[in-house]
Amino acid sequence: MAAIALAAAARSGHPSPVRRGIRTGLFHTSATILAAVFLFPLIWAALNSVKSSDEANQQPPTWLPHSLSLQNYRSLSGFDQGIGTYLLNTFALCLCTVVGTVIVCVLGGYGFARYAFRGKNLLFGATLTILMVPYATILLPLYIVLGHLHLQNSLIGLALVLVMFQLPFGIFLMRNSFESVPRELEEAALVDGCTGFGALRHVSARVVMPGVITVALFAFLTSWNEYLAPLIFLNDGTKYTLPVMLVNIRYASFNILDVGALQAGVVVAMIPCLVVYLALQRFYVSGLVTGALRG
């Protein structure tokens, strides 16, 4: 809002070139300082992670690395099960969650968009209610349900829970995506003798791809970063995911904190998110528009 005010002020008057230059300079100075404040912790973690272990743990800390070293990353591979195991677990969890979310939401979104059946509104309403119910409060009974399904302490069980939490957003978004596809396209396929599933596959699937990518992206970011659910559902150290490992690092080796290793872990955990986000940025924004801000 203030932005509009500023922009409008800049446009309405006709200030001299000098004054405009000063204004631009001030704008970029303050914006750069703010951007630096926001990027600093990320850059700091990266800088610290490539210091030697001794330097990373020096008191007080040094600003720039005196020498580059991969020591901290190496000590990560020696931590408990080794970073490789945690990475693998996290990848497996993400894969299951993303694939599961996409399948359930594409099928469900299509069903809600194109078919009439009894209980449709009830089911759709129940799915959206998941948003209203605080996530943390339902983990406790979920723990018991997973126990009955023999899915406690299992990455599959955890993935199912994460898929469930993605449903309100995913179903809503996929339903809207399918509704924006003209029915006539599919009807033609149906007349040509396609089954319902065939129509979905041939005609709609390509058109709704952006929606699918958005759903997959959100599922990935959530499952990669999720901390509380793995902490509660997994009790076997060999199954821990990266976020759980990160928090455990500080209690490693008799409570002696290894700052370098911790920062290296942070870097490993955040790089996939940054890369995936930067690559798929426009789907993220379009997802926000469709999913959260229709109107």
Binding site: L107, P141, M164, N225, L274
Partner: protein, 316 residues
């Protein structure tokens, strides 16, 4: 214009259901309700097994004495009565409310300032916007771990920077007192989440038709009038959504406190969800924890409903 993410109404009205005419044209075999049910079956199974059933169990648990081993015994409303005398829970409620109020206000204030920067047409706006948003995609556990180390008196770069800036020559103890711990946690939350607010506000701003501003300018509206009569009313649904997300998210804060302050110092930063977690998974008083969860759940649903209604009414 409504926060349709929480309701299905407006959409439903637009969707023509499959009528008989259509069915006969498209071939009745392909639009049978049974096929539709098959499509939504996975959703139904997940929602039932992992949402509705646990919800039922939660309510049942809250009415029982549920030990970790052995069978639960029915307790009636005992767990709820105990909540009233549970100082830790009551303290957690108070802390969470204070935290929510401060966070929501500060988040909006910072977000508006950052929107002013990222919505200009100047060069570099996209870079600034991305810089503000990047912390949001980093996980809370990673972000909180980072801030925990950086706030360390001897090893942390925040402490070093504060001393280098000459603000204090002592170690600043960023997590040492209740107020400082709260301040550091709020700083973390602003850093991590404000980018999301900025992004959503930008999307909202872009949706306002440029003609509105053109027309207003031709009519000689001042900057303030354009802000007051075009921008703010048009952004109302966006602001409503962000308020709901911010209030709900803050009331349920867990990760940042669990990792950054661990509820300390002296249990001064225990949020409601952290208290709930401790009760369930540290002291294993599951019935008590379930009662707390039910209370939190009911309060949140009410808060959401009240907020939605408030924003709806103002829209009219």
């Amino acid at each position: 214009m409504a926060v349709t993410v929480l309701t299905s109404r407006p959409q439903q009205a637009r969707t023509p259901t499959v009528g008989p005419r259509r069915r006969s044209r498209a071939g009745s075999a392909s639009r049978r309700p049974a096929v539709g049910l098959a499509f939504v079956a996975p959703t139904a199974v997940l929602v039932a097994a992992l949402f509705l059933v646990p919800l039922g169990i939660l309510v049942y648990m809250s009415l029982t004495n549920w030990p970790l081993l052995g069978s639960p015994t029915f307790d009636g409303l005992d767990n709820y009565r105990q909540l009233g005398q549970d100082d830790q829970f009551l303290g957690a409620i108070k802390f969470t409310l204070v935290y929510t109020a401060i966070t929501t206000v500060v988040l909006f204030a910072v977000a508006f300032a950052l929107v002013a920067i990222s919505s200009t047409r100047r060069k570099g706006a996209v870079f600034y916007r991305t810089a503000f948003f990047l912390p949001y995609v980093v996980g809370t556990a990673a972000a909180s771990s980072m801030w925990w180390v950086n706030s360390n008196d001897q090893l942390g770069v925040f402490s070093k920077a504060i001393q280098a800036a000459g603000i204090t020559h002592q170690p600043p103890g960023l997590l040492a007192t209740p107020n400082r711990a709260l301040f550091t946690a709020i700083a973390l939350v602003i850093w991590k989440f404000v980018g999301f607010q900025v992004m959503v506000l930008l999307v909202g701003l872009q949706a306002i038709p440029a003609e509105l501003y053109e027309a207003a300018r031709m009519d000689g509206a001042t900057t303030w009038q354009r802000l007051r009569y075009i921008t703010i009313p048009s952004l109302r649904p966006t602001l409503a959504l962000l308020t709901i997300l911010s209030v709900t998210g803050s009331l349920l804060a867990f990760d940042q406190f669990f990792v950054l302050t661990h509820g300390g110092p002296d249990n001064s930063t225990v949020t409601v969800v952290l208290a709930l977690y401790n009760k369930a998974f540290q002291s294993f008083r599951l019935g008590n924890a379930a009662a707390e969860a039910v209370v939190v759940l009911v309060v949140l649903v009410l808060v959401n409903m009240v907020q939605l209604r408030l924003f709806r009414e103002r829209e009219k």
